[in-house]
């Protein structure tokens, strides 16, 4: 790429151009004026000579007359001076015989003046010799010569003037046009020089203004605007380039700082999360210790109650305590374990037995499971919370006729069949918004289908340390999703007043301990 010229050379070039334009116009008009002056001088050259001759004749004649009448040396000196001047003027007159009327007139005039000077000189000499008759005659002769010469001077002046006027008449009409054109030339030169100056100043100040704008932008913190390459001059291009480099460097530095700040922020957040996790872990540990203490106490108490009821022959109470103890034992095991559908069904049946004891004929419970599904794996405590929800929420306001149905079956072709667990009730049901909220709380779309990464990436993960009795629907949804790596799903089919069906679909081989 061609490197732009330096600012100095640009200034020199622009100034030179301006001077060239104005100088050309000035020189041109100067030459034109000089030519015009020369022409005018030539026009009046002849008349100027005639004026010299006329003046010389008059001065010489006056001096001669003065000398002859007074014999004053002053007059004589003047006469000598004037006659010399007259002779000099006469010497410039034509003396050759040429076929030109004006030249022949000049010749006649020149010879007349010669004769005048001769007669005048004779008169002076005669006066010095005191020869009155001779100087009188010579003086008269000189007077006649002077008189005739003056006539010729007038004639020549007239001829010269006519010739000059004739020559000038041809020029006059053109002179006006030339003066106008020369004036236009000067105006055009000034305008052109002005435009060169303006153009040059724009070319210099334009990039500087762009630089100033860019600097202002940077001062305001806008580092995104790139400074264009300047072709104005070497200095400005260099400055712009340096400025652009500086802008880019500052921008890079800022980006690095911003990036570092982001990393630091993330680190702090991670640290805070770790602190929170740590706190939660401690809470969980405490809770676990507490859980380990309470079940022992509870089992010992229940065992004592069972022994007591057996010793007292209260079989029904003994059954109650046995089933309650079995249910609690199942519930207190870690919820993250995988169990068989048969275990889960057995747990539900114990829970239902307790509920029947509690609600009597008010609610009817029905638990059905296909034989084939009992060996399939499932996360623990899936069905019990759903039954608890159906009773606590679905049938809450129902005084009688409440029904809860639990079923387990396989669906799909053999080898790829999924385990389907269902809990349905004929309670008050759920609205679509309510269902969507349930899924939203689990970080799932309204249809409950999780993405490949599972719901752990969205929403706040529910606590896994909730007590067994408090495991809610969203806890079930969450655990199904975690246990099946997002491949299992929970479906809720319900409408207000139309009961609720919660279906848990577990893909074949889809649960993990």
């Amino acid at each position: 790429m061609r490197r732009p010229a330096s600012l100095r050379s640009r200034i020199v070039t622009a100034t030179g151009l301006m001077l060239l334009v104005i100088g050309a116009a000035t020189l041109y008009t100067g030459f034109a004026t000089a030519e015009l002056a020369r022409i005018l001088g030539l026009l009046f050259k002849g008349n100027l000579l005639m004026e010299e001759v006329r003046g010389g004749l008059a001065e010489a004649s006056t001096a001669l007359t003065g000398y002859l009448t007074t014999k004053s040396s002053d007059y004589l000196r003047t006469y000598i001076q004037e006659s010399s001047r007259l002779a000099s003027s006469a010497g410039r007159l034509n003396r050759e015989v040429r076929n030109d009327e004006a030249l022949l007139l000049q010749r006649s005039l020149g010879r007349l003046i010669d004769r005048y000077l001769a007669d005048a000189e004779a008169a002076v000499q005669a006066k010095r010799g005191r020869n009155v008759a001779a100087y009188t005659k010579a003086f008269e002769g000189s007077e006649r010569d002077a008189d005739l010469a003056r006539g010729l001077v007038e004639r020549l002046e007239s001829m010269n003037l006519s010739a000059s006027l004739a020559a000038y008449a041809g020029l006059d009409e053109r002179v006006g046009a030339v003066i106008l054109t020369n004036a236009a030339l000067v105006v055009a030169a000034v305008l052109t020089a002005f435009m060169i100056f303006v153009r040059w100043s724009y070319s210099v100040t334009g990039p500087l203004l762009a630089l100033a704008e860019a600097a202002k932008g940077i001062a305001m913190g806008d580092y995104s605007r790139e400074i264009p390459r300047m072709a104005a001059s070497e200095e400005i291009a260099t400055t712009a380039e340096a400025f652009e480099n500086m802008r880019a460097s500052v921008r890079r530095a800022f980006e690095e700082l911003r990036s570092k700040a982001e990393v630091e922020r993330r680190l702090i957040e991670e640290e805070l999360r770790l602190v929170d996790l740590d706190r939660r872990l401690k809470d969980a540990e405490l809770l676990a210790l507490q859980s380990q203490i309470n079940p022992h106490f509870l089992f010992n108490t229940l065992a004592a109650g069972l022994q007591l009821s057996l010793s007292e022959g209260a079989d029904r109470t003994a059954d109650f305590l046995e089933k309650l103890a079995g249910f609690i034992r199942y519930s207190l095991r870690p919820v993250s374990r995988s169990v068989s559908v048969g275990d889960e069904i057995e747990c539900v049946e114990r829970y239902v037995w307790l509920l029947r004891l509690r609600f009597g004929p008010r609610y009817r419970f029905d638990v059905q499971a296909e034989e084939a599904v009992l060996g399939q794996g499932t996360p623990a405590l899936i069905l019990q919370p759903l039954v608890e929800n159906a009773v606590a929420h679905g049938l809450r306001d129902r005084e009688s006729g409440g029904r809860v149905r639990v079923s387990a079956r396989l669906e799909g072709p053999p080898g790829e069949s999924a385990t389907v667990l269902e809990v349905s009730d004929n309670g008050q049901g759920m609205g679509a918004a309510e269902i969507a909220q349930v899924f939203a709380e689990c970080g799932l779309p309204p249809d409950g289908r999780a993405g490949a990464e599972g719901p752990a990436t969205a929403g706040t993960p529910p606590s896994t340390l909730d007590p067994p009795g408090g495991i809610g629907l969203h806890n079930v949804i969450r655990r199904v999703s975690l246990a099946t790596m997002g491949r299992g799903r929970v479906e809720i089919v319900s409408e207000a007043g139309g009961g609720t069906l919660v279906r848990v679909v577990l893909p074949a081989g889809g649960t993990a301990a």
Binding site: V21, A24, A25, Y28, F31, A32, E35, I39, L42, L43, K45, G46, E96, V97, R98, N99, D100, E101, A102, L103, L104, L105, R107, S108, L109, R111, L112, R115, R144, D145, L148, G151, L152, A163, S164, A166, A167, Y168, G170, L171, R174, V175, A177, V178, T181, N182, A184, L185, A188, A189, L191, T192, M195, I196, V198, R199, Y202
Partner: protein, 327 residues
């Protein structure tokens, strides 16, 4: 901005070129005009051996026009450069002044018109004393001894005109004469008058009824002709002594519808006069050969400068120009 700069630069260039061309044209024109006026650059006028001063009356008479043409035609052969000076025809002082200038300036020769009454012999003597070749030219030879006079003879011009009129009108010719006003003479003293009268004398009854004198000026001939016709209605022929008066009289005949009724015989020839001649307004013109007078004058001057004897008095013949006749 760049575009405007280019437009202005182009404009400046155009104006610059235009101004240059205009100035160049002005300079060329001025040089041409100055050269034409002899103020610069003109090739020097051709050199000649002799400075010849020609002194003629300032008259619009074709006689002098042709005389000058003859002088200019003869000048190269004589090796003379002509300085022609005109003086008012009514002022002999001015003629004398030029004569004096010629002598005092020491010109090589003088050709001077000799009007009636001029002291031509005295001038010739003064010129001879000053060593200046002197040639007098004119219409009629002046009295006195002259070394050189070249002219036409008014007597012959008059007699040729008179004979022409009398030949046409016979004894019934009643002629009106228009003569240029001359100094010191009445009709009887006028040589041309005498020539006309003499030629008509052979026809009994033919006579000159009246003479009118024309003054210098282009309308003078017209005035004189009108005056003649007004004062003498019986005039049936007019004879004029010069071309100017002839044209004036022809104008009067046309204006008064007298063409064909009055026979007009004129003098000399000009393009306009020849046109009237061809139209029949003018019957004939007695042409004095003043061009030849000029040529003869230069020939005489050359002879004198060559040291040969001056030719003395030379009278050049007149010719009668008739309609349809080629020169």
């Amino acid at each position: 901005m760049r575009k405007a700069a280019w437009i202005l630069a182009t404009l400046f260039g155009l104006v610059f070129v235009g101004a240059t061309l205009l100035n160049a044209e002005l300079v060329a024109r001025s040089r041409s005009a100055l050269a034409a006026a002899g103020l610069m650059g003109a090739p020097p006028a051709p050199e000649a051996r002799f400075h010849l001063l020609v002194i003629l009356p300032d008259s619009d008479d074709a006689f002098f026009t042709h005389l000058l043409e003859g002088l200019e035609a003869g000048a190269p052969a004589a090796g003379a450069a002509l300085q022609v000076e005109r003086y008012a025809a009514s002022s002999s002082t001015e003629a004398d002044r030029w004569f004096d200038i010629g002598l005092r300036a020491g010109v090589d020769g003088l050709v001077m018109y000799a009007a009636r009454g001029d002291d031509v012999a005295g001038r010739a003597a003064l010129a001879q004393a000053a060593g200046v070749a002197f040639v007098a030219v004119g219409k009629d030879a002046p009295s006195g001894s002259l070394p050189c006079f070249i002219g036409s003879a008014s007597l012959i011009q008059g007699s040729q005109g008179g004979a022409l009129i009398a030949g046409r009108l016979k004894g019934g010719a009643r002629v009106g004469l228009i003569l240029p006003s001359d100094r010191f003479e009445g009709p009887g003293e006028n040589i041309l008058y005498r020539g006309v009268a003499a030629s008509m004398a052979i026809y009994s009854g033919a006579r000159i009824v009246a003479t009118a004198w024309s003054q210098p000026g282009i309308l003078s001939g017209e005035e004189a002709a009108a005056s003649l016709l007004r004062g003498h209605p019986d005039i049936n022929a007019i004879f004029c002594a010069n071309s100017r008066d002839t044209l004036g009289a022809a104008q009067v005949l046309v204006d008064q519808n007298l063409v064909g009724r009055i026979l007009l015989v004129g003098a000399d020839e000009t393009p306009e006069l020849l046109r009237y001649l061809e139209k029949g307004v003018i019957a004939a013109s007695v042409v004095r050969d003043s061009r030849r007078i000029g040529e003869e004058a230069l020939r005489a001057f050359a002879a004198m400068k060559a040291g040969r004897k001056a030719p003395g008095i030379v009278e050049v013949d007149s010719v009668v120009r008739l309609p349809g006749a080629k020169e």
